[in-house]
Structure formats: structure tokens, C-alpha cells
């Protein structure tokens, strides 16, 4: 199998079984040796047994020989002279002994028919002898003749015994010779078999040892390499046995390690790439790890941070409980850095259990921006107030002389009226018109200023009802005009300042009324639509419209996009409307097309 790849692994061999087989074979060889030794010893043992037996028979025969010889001696003595009667009891005793011995000899030669035969022959010969002796000693018959016969029989028995003994002796010599010749045989057999057995066992054992060794070495080497850091290294699987199984498992583990290391690196990269400082603390608030941004923000190197208690970064009574809070930290250069610190519990195992993770954001810029914004706001609102005060006083102050001009021009007209020529009368009326106009302008300005200073009272109002109200008022003021009002909503409740909203609607619907003045079939529509994820009210007309190119000027005070002779107005109306909408926190905008119509969209918060 190629190292580095591992498909589904199947264990088809087994070292354990091979070992078991080896042991069985070795045991079998051992048994063979024992068997061999047993067999080679058998002849040895048999020989010894036979020898022993032979010796025993020999002993018996010797004893018999003794008896017969002694009897023969008695006979010889008798020949030379002596009492036969004395010899008889001796004979009797001798006969008894002999029969006992011969029985013993027969028993001993059991299983050896040749020997048994000999013993029986001897037995017969001795019987003949004893018979002859009996006859002799009984005293009947011729002594000389009988003794001759007896002596012949004695001789024959003795000869047989002698022959028997010689036979036995040669037997035992032969057997002993055989034993002696083969005395080393069992030993040699044993040693030879033992040597063969040892070699065989060694061979088989070495075979297995080598196989296991090679596989394990491969694995050990792989372990060493992986430990050093080479996670791509895989151990080669030598054989599909138990060690192969282990090797496969090791390779899989290494693969898993590799995968995890990659993802670990990935995670580490993320932390290092963050634009915030990330610090992990342990239970004793010692810094375990810090990222690159930490160094950039605080100026300390990683070696200054890791392993040190984090107190030197934070202020004395900093609350380390989990949460988000703003505080001030001390940098290496002694600077106080405003930061936003997010603390959370770090759940882990072992050493990392119940630590803290701090994400620290440098909010210096933000704070600066906030301060700037605050200052700007203050300046702005101050300026606004000044402006309002100014416009109020201006319009107020302008009023006074205007009243004078108006009054005295009127007085002139009253006094001189009939006496004036046409041109002068015209001039005077033009002055009056101008004054009126100026008065209206100032009134409108004043109104606008008042509007800005008015305190807003929020009440729930039905804006649709208000629209209808305002429309009715317009109709009453110009009953001859035919204007159609379309209400897309019949009733709509909003939370707003009723007076301001009335002024707003008076302006918007008033404008719609005004600019449809030249349209025969004037239509005004009011409704609600969804624009940019929020609800907007709209007032739509099919009047004169305006050029969208000049839409920027639309809401500017005194900005008019139509001439006074076309459509009357001071140009403050839309500025007022915008101011009201903005005070409600809403937005106002318009879309239009010349001679087609206009839509004003507005929201109230």
C-alpha cells in the first residue's frame, strides 16, 4: 500500500495467529524430539530388561548346578564307600530345592520359548537323575550298576545346565554388546533433534520477529517524524495484520491532526488579522495569548505580554466581569488610550477552563469624532438659536417702519386721492402693493421663526380628517374652483403636533390647490405608500409641476420656481413645511414633471 493513502482497510492476516502457529509447530517439534528419544531408548530399555531377565535365570541355573554337583559328589563318595540311607534325606531336600528353582526358571523364561524349552529339557534330565538317585538310595538293586546309571544321568543334567549357562552368558553378552554399542544413540538422537528443533524455532521466531520489527520500526519512524512536525507523512502498511491496523489508525489520526492544524491556523489567521486586540486571560488574569493588534495598540511585544498578569494594561479598579464597557488603558509609552473592552468567558478544557477573552477596540478616533460631533451640534444649535432670534427680532423690527409706510401711504392716498394724476396714483398704489407684500413676507418669516421655537406637543391625531378639513377651508375660500379630492385613506392616526401638522397640510394642500389653478380638471390626492422601508404620506396634484433640475432650491426659504404673476406666493411655504416635517423627525421630498403634476412625500418620524 502506498504511504499517504489509505482506503478502507481490511485486516486479512493476524500476527497473533502466526505466532500461535509458530508455537504449535515448535511444540510439535518438541514432541517429535521426545518421541524420537523415546523410540531410540526403547531398544536400550528392552535390552536392559532382557539382560536382567537373563541374569536372573543364570543365577537360578547356577544354583541348580550347585545342587546337582553336590549330589554328584555324594554319589562319588558313596562309590568309594558310605551309607546310602544318609543320602536319602539330602536327596529329598535337594529335589525340593531343585523343583522350586526350576519353577522359578520356568517363570522367568516366560515369553522366551527357546529358553523355556531348554529349561524343560533340563528339568527332564534332572528328573531322570533324581529318579536314578532314588532307586540307588532306596537300596534295592545292584548298587554299582545303579550308581553308574545315576552318574550318567547326573552328567547329562550337568552338561545341559552347563550348555544352558553358556547360552545365557552369550545371550547376555550379546545384549550387553548391543546396549553398549548403542549407548550414545539416545543422546545423539536427542542432541540432533534438539539442534534441529532450535534452528527451526529460531528460524520461525526470527521470521516473525523480523516482520513485526519492520512494521513497528516503520511506525516508530513515522511517529518521530510527525512529532517533529511533518504532518503530511504517512507510515507504510507492510501487511494487513494487527500492526497494519495500528498503522492505518495512526495514519488516520495524523490526517485528522493535519486537518485540525489547518483549521487551527485558519482560526489563528483570523485572530491575527483582526483590527482589534484579542487577549486571552486565564483564571488568575494572566495573559495567555495576545495577537498582533495588541502589540500595535499598546506597544508591548508578545514576549512582554504573554505569561504576565494583565493588570499593567488596565486601570486599577477595572471590572473584569463579562460584558462590554469603555475604559482607558495604559500603553507602553505611557499614553492613556480610550478603549471599548468586550469580555466574555472562555470555556475550555484543562488549563484553559474558565478563562476570559478580551476584545479591545481602540476608540480614540471614535471619541474624537464624538467630541467633534458634539461640538458641532452645540455650535449648530447655538447658531440656529441665534438665527431664530435674529429673524424674529428682524421681522419684528421690520414691522414697525413697515406699518409706518403702510399707514402714511394710505393717508396720502386718502388725502390726495382725487387730486392725484393717474401716474402718481399708480405709483402710490404700487407702493401700497409692495408694502402689503412685504408685510406678508414678514408675517410669513415671523411665522416660520415662531414655528422653530414652538414647543412640540405630541398627540394622536387623524391626519386624514385634517386633510379633509384643510381642503374644505380652501373650497370655502374659493368656492368657484372645481377641485376633486381623492382620499386613499379614510382615517389615519399619527402621533404628532396637531397645530404644526395643520400648518404643514395647509402648505402642501394649499400649494396643490394653487398650482392646479390653471388646470380645468384639478385633482388632489392624499394617501400613504411604502417608500424605502418606511411609510410615507403623499399629496399629489396634476398641476403645473416644476423642473426637477431645480429641486434643490425647492425647500429653500424665499426660493420660488415660478414667477409671482404665474402663481402667487412668498416662497416660504415649503421651507415651513420642511421645518415642520424635520421637527417631527421625518423626511420630505418631491417629484414632479412640468405640466403633469407634483407629488410631495413626507413622513412624520
Amino acid at each position: 500500500m502506498k504511504p499517504g493513502t489509505f482506503t478502507a482497510f481490511e485486516k486479512t492476516e493476524s500476527i497473533a495467529r502466526r505466532l500461535a502457529r509458530t508455537i504449535i509447530v515448535i511444540a510439535a517439534c518438541f514432541l517429535l524430539i521426545i518421541g524420537g528419544m523415546f523410540f531410540s531408548s526403547r531398544s536400550f530399555l528392552d535390552g536392559l530388561t532382557e539382560l536382567h531377565q537373563t541374569n536372573q535365570i543364570y543365577d537360578v541355573s547356577r544354583q541348580v548346578n550347585q545342587i546337582i554337583s553336590s549330589l554328584d559328589e555324594i554319589l562319588s563318595k558313596l562309590n568309594e564307600g558310605g551309607s546310602a540311607g544318609q543320602a536319602l534325606p539330602v536327596l529329598r531336600m535337594a529335589i525340593d530345592q531343585e523343583s522350586q528353582l526350576l519353577d522359578k526358571a520356568l517363570k522367568l523364561s516366560e515369553g522366551r520359548p527357546a529358553l523355556k524349552l531348554e529349561v524343560q529339557k533340563i528339568n527332564e534330565a534332572i528328573a531322570r537323575f533324581t529318579e536314578a538317585c532314588e532307586r540307588l538310595f532306596s537300596g534295592k538293586g545292584n548298587f554299582k550298576e545303579d550308581s553308574l546309571i545315576a552318574r550318567q544321568f547326573a552328567l547329562e543334567a550337568i552338561d545341559l545346565l552347563a550348555k544352558f549357562q553358556i547360552q545365557l552368558k552369550s545371550n547376555s553378552d550379546r545384549i550387553f554388546g548391543k546396549i553398549y554399542d548403542g549407548r550414545f544413540r539416545p543422546l545423539i538422537a536427542g542432541i540432533t533433534l534438539a539442534i534441529i528443533f532450535t534452528c527451526f524455532s529460531l528460524f520461525m521466531g526470527l521470521g516473525i520477529t523480523r516482520q513485526i520489527h519492520r512494521a513497528i520500526n516503520g511506525l516508530l519512524e513515522a511517529t518521530a517524524r510527525v512529532t517533529k512536525g511533518d504532518l503530511s507523512h504517512r507510515a507504510a502498511i507492510v501487511r494487513p495484520d494487527e500492526i497494519g491496523l495500528l498503522t492505518n489508525a495512526f495514519n488516520q489520526m495524523t490526517q485528522s491532526l493535519q486537518d485540525n492544524t489547518v483549521s487551527m491556523l485558519y482560526v489563528q489567521n483570523i485572530i491575527e488579522s483582526m483590527q482589534d486586540s484579542v487577549i486571552t486571560l486565564d483564571r488568575q488574569l494572566t495573559i495567555v495569548q495576545s495577537n498582533k493588534m495588541t502589540t500595535e495598540i499598546f506597544g508591548y511585544e508578545a514576549s512582554d505580554l504573554n505569561g504576565k498578569p494583565c493588570a499593567f494594561l488596565f486601570s486599577e479598579n477595572f471590572d473584569f466581569s463579562p460584558g462590554l464597557r469603555e475604559t482607558s488603558c495604559l500603553s507602553k509609552s505611557g499614553q492613556q488610550i480610550p478603549v471599548s473592552v468586550s469580555l466574555s468567558r472562555l470555556h475550555g478544557q484543562g488549563e484553559n477552563s474558565s478563562g476570559l477573552v478580551c476584545v479591545i477596540e481602540d476608540i480614540t478616533e471614535r471619541k474624537k469624532a464624538e467630541t467633534e460631533m458634539r461640538d458641532m451640534n452645540l455650535a449648530l444649535s447655538a447658531a440656529n438659536k441665534e438665527l431664530e432670534a435674529f429673524s424674529y427680532s428682524v421681522s419684528h423690527d421690520l414691522r414697525a417702519p413697515l406699518r409706518g409706510i403702510d399707514g402714511f401711504s394710505q393717508a396720502l392716498l386718502d388725502d390726495l386721492g382725487p387730486k392725484l394724476d393717474k401716474e402718481s396714483a399708480n405709483h402710490l398704489s404700487r407702493i401700497r402693493v409692495g408694502v402689503q407684500r412685504m408685510g406678508k413676507l414678514i408675517d410669513d418669516l415671523l411665522g416660520l421663526a415662531k414655528l422653530s421655537r414652538k414647543e412640540m406637543i405630541y398627540k394622536p391625531i387623524d391626519i386624514a380628517a385634517l386633510v379633509k378639513d384643510v381642503f374644505e377651508e380652501l373650497k370655502e375660500s374659493e368656492p368657484e374652483r372645481k377641485v376633486e379630492l381623492t382620499m386613499r385613506v379614510e382615517s389615519m392616526k399619527v402621533n404628532a403636533d396637531p397645530d404644526l401638522v395643520r400648518v404643514l397640510l395647509e402648505n402642501l394642500i394649499g400649494n396643490a390647490w394653487k398650482y392646479t389653478g390653471k388646470v380645468t380638471e384639478a385633482r388632489i390626492e392624499f394617501g400613504v405608500i411604502r417608500r424605502d422601508d418606511s411609510d410615507s404620506f403623499y399629496v399629489k396634484d396634476n398641476g403645473a409641476g416644476f423642473d426637477m433640475a431645480y429641486s434643490q432650491k425647492l425647500f429653500g426659504a424665499f426660493q420660488r420656481l415660478h414667477r409671482a404673476d404665474e402663481f402667487p406666493g412668498t416662497g416660504v411655504g415649503l421651507a415651513t413645511a420642511q421645518r415642520i416635517v424635520h421637527r417631527h423627525g421625518g423626511k420630505i421630498s418631491a417629484e414632479s414633471e412640468i405640466n403633469k403634476g407634483t407629488i410631495f412625500y413626507f413622513s412624520l418620524g
Binding site: D159, L160, A162, K163, F164, Q165, I166
Partner: protein, 119 residues
């Protein structure tokens, strides 16, 4: 000197070699299988003649022979009869017996017969 056997012995004549074999117990059986029983004489003129003429050996030589025989084959020297009448009695008793007497005239028992010994 004549040699005598049992009357029932079928043998009529034997060679001298056979005789010697019978005496020295080299041949223990007659041709018919019966055991040979040689009867010798004690120290006597008959024996002297037997040793000189037939065996052509001295008595000491014979004795030595029998000592050796006892050791190597177990055979003992044949029984020595004290007289000629004993010899005759012996041969008459045993079917396979063979012995020697001084002359044929000494043979008085019908159970005994003389055989010829050829060279």
C-alpha cells in the same frame, strides 16, 4: 579291542572319525536322532589301548581337552566305568550307548552287539 553298541542300534559300522566325534561329543546324536552315550573306562589297559590306538592322544591331553570343553561347550568327559562288565551293563541299558571292551569274547549280553570301526 572292540567297540560295542546297544543291540537295538541299527548301526553296523562306523568310521573312526565318527567314533572320535562320538567320544569327543562333537556329534551328540546317532543318525536316527537318539542321544549318544559314550562310556569310557577308568585307568586300565583297555583305556590305554583306546587312547593310543584310536585317539592317539595322551591322557593328559584328553584331560586338558575336557577342561576346555567344560568351559566352552559345557560338555563333560564321559563317565568312566570301573570294569568291563559295567561297560557291558551300561551299553545294554541305554539304546544309544557306545563303549569299548578288550575282545568280542567278553560280550556275553545279548542286548549288546559289536560294531566295526573302519578307517
Amino acid at each position: 579291542m572292540v567297540f560295542i553298541v546297544n543291540a537295538e542300534n541299527p548301526a553296523e559300522s562306523i568310521s573312526s572319525k565318527e567314533l572320535k566325534d562320538y567320544f569327543f561329543k562333537r556329534k551328540p546324536q546317532w543318525p536316527d536322532g537318539s542321544p549318544v552315550r559314550f562310556i569310557d573306562r577308568n585307568e586300565s589297559p583297555e583305556r590305554k589301548l583306546f587312547l593310543e590306538k584310536l585317539l592317539r592322544q595322551t591322557s593328559e591331553e584328553i584331560d586338558t581337552f575336557w577342561i576346555g570343553q567344560k568351559l566352552y561347550s559345557g560338555n563333560s568327559a564321559p563317565v568312566q566305568a570301573a570294569s568291563q562288565s559295567m561297560v557291558i551293563y551300561f551299553v545294554a541299558t541305554f539304546k544309544g550307548a557306545i563303549g569299548y571292551v578288550s575282545s568280542a569274547s567278553a560280550v556275553t549280553d545279548k542286548k549288546v552287539k559289536v560294531i566295526k570301526v573302519t578307517e
